[in-house]
C-alpha cells in the first residue's frame, strides 16, 4: 500500500492525436492488494486551465467495480481505447487553456483515493500571440 501507484501508458508515444484518431493505451495498478481495491474509474476528458473557474467534460468513461462482481483483475494491465472527438482541440491560450488527459482514479479501502493522469494533445492549434486591437 505504501508504494501504491498507477501507471498509464498510451500506445502513441508522442501523445499527439488528431480528431477522429483512436486513442488506445493501458493502465497498470502497482502495489495495491486486490482486497484493498474498491473500484477504478478511467476517464478520457478535457478540462480548462487559466484564469477562469475550471470547466471539464468527460469524453469516455469506464468504471471497474470488482466489489459489485465486475470482472477486473488489478494485477493485470487494463486496456482501453476510444475514438477522439472533433473538438475541443487542445489550446494554450493566455487566460483560457484546454487540456486533454487520460485520468485513472483508484478508490481504495478506508476512503483512500489515488488519481493519476497523463496529458495528451488533440489537434495542433499553436499558441496564440497577443493581438493588437
Amino acid at each position: 500500500m505504501i508504494h501504491a501507484r498507477v501507471k498509464i501508458v498510451l500506445d502513441a508515444p508522442t501523445r499527439s492525436f488528431n480528431p477522429g484518431d483512436l486513442l488506445a493505451g493501458q493502465f497498470v495498478l502497482e502495489g495495491i492488494a486486490p482486497e484493498d481495491l474498491r473500484s477504478v474509474e478511467l476517464s478520457v476528458l478535457w478540462h480548462t486551465e487559466g484564469k477562469g473557474e475550471e470547466d471539464m467534460s468527460v469524453h469516455f468513461f469506464e468504471r471497474l467495480d470488482p466489489q459489485n462482481g465486475q470482472e477486473f483483475n488489478p494485477l493485470l494491465p487494463h486496456l482501453f481505447s476510444t475514438t477522439l472527438p472533433n473538438s475541443p482541440l487542445s489550446y494554450a491560450g493566455f487566460i483560457v487553456k484546454i487540456c486533454w488527459c487520460v485520468r485513472v482514479r483508484v478508490f481504495l479501502a478506508r476512503g483512500k483515493e489515488l488519481s493519476v493522469e497523463v496529458p495528451f494533445r488533440l489537434g495542433k492549434v499553436p499558441q496564440p500571440e497577443q493581438a493588437a486591437s
Binding site: 486551465e49 487559466g50 484564469k51 473557474e53 493566455f94 487540456c99 493522469e117 496529458p119
Partner: protein
C-alpha cells in the same frame, strides 16, 4: 492541489484550479507568544469556543482555504461539517441547506462569507443552528460579534511560501522581487497577488524574462 509533475506543456501554476480554496494549503504564521497554531490546535479551540465562532480576516487572506482544511481535520475527528459559500450579494442562505446539513449528519455548519447575509437571515441561521444543536462557524472580513476562532492575515513570507508551493523547484519564471512587487500591488491580498502572477508567468514563459 499542486500542479501535477506531469502537467500540460502550457500549464500555468497560478491557474485557478491550482489556487482555488482547498487547492493551496493554508500556511499558519509563525507561532506567536507560545500559542500553538495549527489545524489540530484550531480544531481543539473550536470545540472549546461553544456554539458559535468566527474566522475574521481581510480579502484574499485565506479564510476559505483555512475553512476547507479545517473541515478535513474535523472529519478525521468524526465531526462532519456542512459548508455554505456565499457570493455576489447572496443575502439569504440557499434553500434546502438545513435539510442537506441534516442528511449528512453535520454537527458543524460553516458559512463562508457571512456578511453577505441580511440581518433576518443571520438571525434565522443562528436560530436554526441552535434548535438543531449545530455548532456555527462563520468567516467574515470584519468582526461580526461572535467569539473569534482565528484571525487570518497575510505577510510577504506567507505569500512567498505559497508561491514556492505552486512553482516547481526548477521553475525560475517568478523571482523573489516579482513576488514582493505583486504582493505590494495587491495590497496584501494573496488571491489578487496570485492572479497577477498568472499574467507575469504567461508573459515570461511566452516571451522570456521581461
Amino acid at each position: 492541489m499542486k500542479p501535477p509533475a506531469e502537467h500540460h506543456e502550457a500549464s500555468n501554476p497560478f491557474s485557478t484550479r491550482f489556487i482555488r480554496p482547498g487547492a493551496v494549503p493554508f500556511l499558519f504564521p509563525p507561532e506567536q507568544a507560545g500559542a500553538k497554531q495549527d489545524l489540530d490546535a484550531l480544531a481543539d479551540r473550536l470545540s472549546s469556543l461553544g456554539s458559535r465562532s468566527q474566522i475574521v480576516g481581510p480579502h484574499g487572506s485565506g479564510k476559505s482555504t483555512l475553512v476547507r482544511q479545517l473541515m478535513d481535520q474535523l472529519a478525521q475527528r468524526g465531526l462532519p461539517s456542512y459548508l455554505v459559500s456565499l457570493h455576489d450579494g447572496e443575502r439569504r442562505m440557499p434553500a434546502g441547506w438545513a435539510k442537506a446539513a441534516q442528511q449528512m449528519a453535520a454537527r458543524l455548519v460553516i458559512v463562508d462569507g457571512y456578511e453577505q447575509l441580511g440581518a433576518w437571515s443571520r438571525w434565522m441561521l443562528k436560530f436554526r443552528c441552535r434548535i438543531r444543536g449545530w455548532q456555527l462557524l462563520v468567516t467574515a472580513h470584519q468582526d461580526v460579534g461572535l467569539p473569534t476562532l482565528f484571525r487570518t492575515a497575510t505577510d510577504l513570507a506567507t505569500a512567498r511560501s505559497i508561491v514556492a508551493h505552486l512553482l516547481a523547484p526548477s521553475d525560475k519564471n517568478i523571482d523573489e522581487t516579482t513576488i514582493a512587487d505583486s504582493f505590494a500591488a495587491a495590497r496584501g491580498s494573496v488571491r489578487d497577488m496570485l492572479f497577477a502572477l498568472y499574467d507575469r508567468y504567461e508573459q515570461r514563459t511566452r516571451h522570456g524574462s521581461s
